[in-house]
């Protein structure tokens, strides 16, 4: 039945956005993760990728999380000569996480999540209306 299939497709979208939220939370939590000695890279920001997949059972293109890639951007540096990870010039390399970008990304994930929820509730109302035919 097509209505149940649309719920399943929207649920795949929910799963995708939830996975994206998880990666964003990971980035935000590690925004200050510095190594404990010099010469070691700090935390590198993770980037989530999406890919469409044709689900033959549902006969629809569902979404799923692709590989979680690493951001290849440069690290921030901070002058802190007393830090155990400071180099000869006293600079400490900080993770390349920008909390503004992360919170924007989070809003976008939230918006897509809500859109999927909206589709599910609308489809459920359609199903409910179909069942109501029996009661008429």
């Amino acid at each position: 039945m097509d209505l149940l299939k649309s719920i399943a497709v929207a649920a795949s979208g929910l799963r995708g956005q939830a996975g994206r939220m998880r990666v964003i939370a990971e980035n935000l939590a590690n925004a200050d993760s510095t190594p404990d000695r010099a010469g070691v890279d700090p935390y590198r920001r993770k980037i989530v990728t999406f890919q469409g997949r044709l689900d033959r059972e549902l006969d629809a293109q569902v979404v799923e999380l692709g590989r979680v890639e690493r951001d290849r951007g440069a690290f921030r540096t901070k002058l802190d000569p007393g830090h155990p990870a400071a180099d000869a010039a006293g600079q400490v390399r900080m993770p390349n996480v920008n909390s503004l970008i992360e919170s924007m990304d989070m809003r976008e994930a939230q918006r897509s999540y809500e859109a999927n929820l909206n589709v599910i509730s609308s489809t459920r109302r359609m199903l409910q209306r179909t069942i109501d035919i029996l009661r008429a």
Partner: protein, 127 residues
Amino acid sequence: MSNTGLNLMGALKTRMHWHQSRQKLLAENVSNADTPRFKPHDLKAPSPAGGGLVLAQTSPLHLGPAGSVNGFDPRDPKRFETTPSGNSVNLEDEMLKVAQNQSDYQLAASLYSKGLGLMKIAIGKGR
């Protein structure tokens, strides 16, 4: 004896099927709102039976008419929101379509139950 009443039910059934398929496509568009290079689809508005003419193809070498592709909306409306990744789903637009689809479906479903009520009156078991 004409079966006008049953025709009505058949038409409503087709309509409801159409809305179900459209809901599935819209769900697909919304869930792929972040998939790179995804283009949203929509169904063509249903046309009355026998209204559309198609070219007869008697050989596989015949070319079909350009444009309409098996029931999908051939029109390519202007999309003002294409992300750098090539995704052109506009969530507001899709939400609008979902809401519209839902209310149209509910309209068809109410008409269907009204039709059932009419039949009950006809067989004398109304109320």
